[in-house]
């Protein structure tokens, strides 16, 4: 997942990084094909070099030391709303075929949820305002659902020009990277683009809660290079974030 996520970052891009796997994907991208990418962190940090050590949160002292800008959340969110942020990473508990994400609550009544999730954080802002959204999630039939219980972070809504009609200025998910596969969004809907090595399309179909649509050129996800695996293991030697496979 991390290796594929890193490939989604282009050189020179301004990326809302977030935590966990995306943070490591940013490190990999910076050290391989995207040395000029810039990382933005919503608590008010801009970095053109990854932190010197593994981060558990974006507010850890090592993520502040060596930053080029330490500002306010509103300053970073302003850049996002202006359209100055190329891409952003986001995860979620549930996602549907149109890329709408739920990180708020499971169950029909948000006031009496069956599972209370932490909430949006800055995720819904990134999903609303970044030029491109990169989604990373564990692949599970209960997570990739026909319909999510609550739309925390808008994807393509009901499809078509739903975002424009709703007033969103730009953006939407470009890719969904799971533990089993990579989906691209075509006309506002997720299409299976590649399956990870050793994972069959059949298994992906079984593990996906919506009727799977498959790209004509569906192929195996490119394996991470030895260099990429080394960078990941160097950065997270104990596998704190990458334990569940990279």
């Amino acid at each position: 997942m991390v290796a594929q996520a890193a490939r989604e970052i282009r050189d020179g891009e301004r990326v809302f990084v977030g935590m966990r796997l995306p943070l490591i994907a940013f490190v990999v991208a910076k050290r391989t094909h995207a040395p000029n990418a810039v990382g933005l962190f919503e608590l008010g940090i801009v970095r053109d070099e990854p932190a010197a050590e593994l981060l558990y949160t974006m507010g850890d002292n090592p993520n502040v030391a060596g930053a080029v800008w330490c500002a306010r959340t509103i300053d970073l969110m302003g850049l996002l709303q202006r359209g100055d942020v190329d891409a952003g990473f986001i995860g979620g508990a549930e996602i549907d075929m149109q890329g709408n994400l739920n990180t708020t609550a499971i169950g029909p009544d948000r006031r009496r949820p069956s599972v209370q999730l932490p909430g949006s954080g800055g995720g819904a802002d990134i999903a609303s305002l970044a030029h491109r959204l990169i989604v990373i999630m564990p692949h599970d039939k209960r997570r990739l659902r026909e319909k999510v219980d609550f739309v925390t972070s808008p994807g393509y809504g009901t499809g078509g020009d739903w975002r424009r009609r709703g007033g969103l200025p730009r953006g939407g998910p470009s890719v969904l990277i799971t533990t089993l596969a990579v989906f691209r969004f075509v006309d506002g809907a997720a299409v299976l683009a590649s399956h990870h090595p050793g994972v069959s399309v059949e298994r992906i179909r079984e593990e996906t809660g919506w009727p799977l649509s498959t790209a004509a050129d569906v192929h195996e996800t490119e394996r991470p290079s030895a260099e990429v695996l080394r960078i990941i293991r160097d950065y997270d030697p104990k596998g704190f974030w990458t334990r569940r496979g990279d």
Binding site: G44, A65, A71, R72, Q81, R110, S114, S120, L129
Partner: protein, 301 residues
């Protein structure tokens, strides 16, 4: 210059009332005033309205202890360990009580507090158009931009009764220096009716005046200054101490059920008299977190 120095016990006793809206954890992951949250729990405040973007586990502790009636936040959880058990119990089972949640995103919390700081009634934005958050929040309004005709969301100002900011240093009058990420701390402090400053170090006014750009909140807004070293543990304070990652994970494991939560609160909050006792209980684990950082390049005024 007046001195506003108070003990944390007196500051909470005099300035925090049942039912107050309280903004804290406004720098996001760092500089969270856990010492303040623990004193509020010890003094059994009730029906508080918590305001903040992401609170890591401070909101979870206040909710589990029964101090909270309402939360206006973008995220309530345990940043490096996962879900917040006490928050889940309150929302899913009403244990120890039902709470009302006004869902936000980090941007809308920032805009609501900035509007409060500016004395503006609301801020207009394009974020969350299409999200279910505005409906769940209930305080926003959809609107049309009179200049362009575009759809907008209007985020009303939040004016907290009390904002709590933890800083590296402050003078006795309340002029406070914070460095590292500010998050929404300054907006919260300027928006609030009263501000409590928790300072890792108390310095002379002349020290503050050597570098007025570092002042996050001026004394004119501050009601109480508390000298509380280590006030943010287990969250970090830039250049002073690092984040105690393991502590967040231990809390996560220990508070999976109500009994575990109550035992944790007894051990770390109600069972200790104050912050210095808490730090003494941490012992060498606390001293090992010290971080002296590297000096900022010189700037001359």
């Amino acid at each position: 210059m007046t001195s506003k120095l108070l003990s944390l016990r007196d500051a909470v006793g005099r300035l925090v009332r049942d039912g107050h809206s309280v903004a804290l954890g406004c720098a996001l992951e760092p500089a969270i005033p856990f010492a303040f949250a623990h004193e509020v729990i010890r003094q059994r405040r009730q029906d508080l309205h918590l305001v903040g973007p992401i609170s890591d586990i401070a909101f979870d502790q206040l909710i589990g202890a029964g101090c909270v009636a309402r939360v206006s936040a973008a995220w309530v959880g345990n940043v490096s360990a996962g879900l917040a058990h006490a928050y889940r119990r309150a929302m899913e089972q009403g244990i120890p009580r039902r709470i009302e949640v006004r869902d936000h995103s980090n941007f809308t919390v920032a805009q609501a507090l900035l509007a409060g700081a500016l004395g503006a009634p609301y801020l207009p934005t394009r974020t969350l158009l299409g999200s279910d958050i505005p409906r769940a929040n209930g305080t926003f309004r959809e609107s049309t931009d009179p200049f362009s005709g575009d759809k907008l969301l209007l985020v009303p100002a939040i004016v907290p009764d009390v904002a709590v900011v933890a800083v590296q240093r402050a003078d006795e009058d309340g002029n406070a220096h914070l460095w590292g990420p500010w998050g929404v701390s300054q907006e919260a402090a300027l928006a609030a009716r009263s501000v409590i400053v928790l300072a890792d170090e108390i310095v002379d006014r002349s020290v503050i005046a050597t570098d007025p750009n570092r002042t996050i909140v001026p004394a004119t807004k501050v009601a109480a200054v508390v000298h509380e070293p280590g006030a943010c543990h287990p969250s970090p304070l830039q250049g002073r101490y690092r984040r105690d990652h393991a502590f967040f994970h231990e809390y996560h494991r220990a508070t999976r059920d109500v009994e575990g939560f109550d035992a944790w609160i007894e051990e770390w909050v109600t069972g200790v008299a104050d912050r210095s006792a808490y730090l003494a209980k941490l012992g060498p684990r606390w001293t090992a977190l010290r971080d002296t950082g590297r000096p900022a390049a010189e700037a001359r005024f």
